[in-house]
């Protein structure tokens, strides 16, 4: 019974993540401006930094902790560059429906991760890394890049894609090793 409940929650969460880019493409979704896109980029990276910090605190698995540290370092590096570019362009990142949706989803995921221990936590963390990176890749590729007006911001988003694809492969490898 407990397994069914957990699986249902996990499926709902994954479904919500996968539906995010589709929602953003919907005609009812407002078009994102460059300041809003900058906000989504910073928020999406900060969320994975936060997940990584929870993993460093809770996991006893050295491979998983190494992966989490890489996520923290890489996503912090992207945040630094996004903030530096926004400052250079005189753009102030602006909250919007997509960034708020990301934050709401992240709050629920953090609560779920905090409630787990040991191998259950490790599995929940890495499963989430796979689904989260999959969703973020879709969002950047299908929603953010096509709408970005500034060439430098678009270049930064495009240069992030190989990194996210690589993170996804690393997460899938770690997932299969658990």
């Amino acid at each position: 019974m407990k397994t069914i409940k957990i699986t249902s929650v996990a499926l709902l969460f994954v479904a919500a993540l996968f539906s995010m880019p589709l929602m953003a493409q919907d005609q009812s979704t407002p078009t994102l401006t460059d300041p809003e896109i900058a906000s989504v980029a910073v928020t999406a990276n900060q969320i994975d930094v936060d997940y990584g910090k929870i993993a460093l605190e809770k996991s006893q698995n050295e491979e998983l902790k190494k992966f989490a540290q890489t996520m923290i370092d890489d996503h912090n590096s992207i945040i630094d560059q996004a903030v530096a570019l926004a400052t250079k362009l005189g753009v102030t990142p602006k909250d919007n429906a997509v960034s708020k949706s990301l934050m709401d989803g992240a709050d629920k995921t953090k609560m779920n991760l905090e409630s787990k221990e040991g191998e259950d936590f490790d599995k929940a963390y890495i499963d989430n890394e796979v689904s989260y990176h999959t969703a973020v890749i879709s969002t950047i590729k299908d929603v953010l890049i096509p709408q970005t007006q500034n060439a430098e911001l678009k270049d930064l988003l495009q240069s992030v894609m190989p990194l996210l694809e690589h993170h996804l492969e690393m997460a899938k490898t770690a997932q299969s090793n658990l």
Binding site: T70, D73, D74, S77, I78, Q81, L156, S159, V160, P162, L163, E165, H166, E169, M170
Partner: protein, 132 residues
Amino acid sequence: MKTGNVWKVLSLSVIAFLLLSNLSFVESQKLLASTPLSSFATINPCVWKNTKHTVIIKGMAFDPAELHVHKGDTIVWINKDIVPHNITVFPGDEWTSGTMDLGSSWEKSISKTFDYYCSIHPTMKGKIIVDP
């Protein structure tokens, strides 16, 4: 022309040729002595010089991923990517560049063929091949 005159002309021509040849030889020696060694090396194919190669790290990849070099050549890796990387020999991790921050470079003199990867991002792989 009389036979005697022919001999006179021939003799004078030989003397003139010898004088000019001698002058050219002396001048060429002076020229050679004043030529810098580095210039001599670049125009003399018999003097072998080590080459410096560059590998660019960008888009989560090494470019070129496979590089042919000669023993004694130097390779410079430049991190033009958006996150830190490293150069670590594979397998065994016997040596590593350490973390290469954004925009930084690291170089190594090459003595043998080896595979390498970025231990931070393990699917990033490269190979250096020392040709005979």
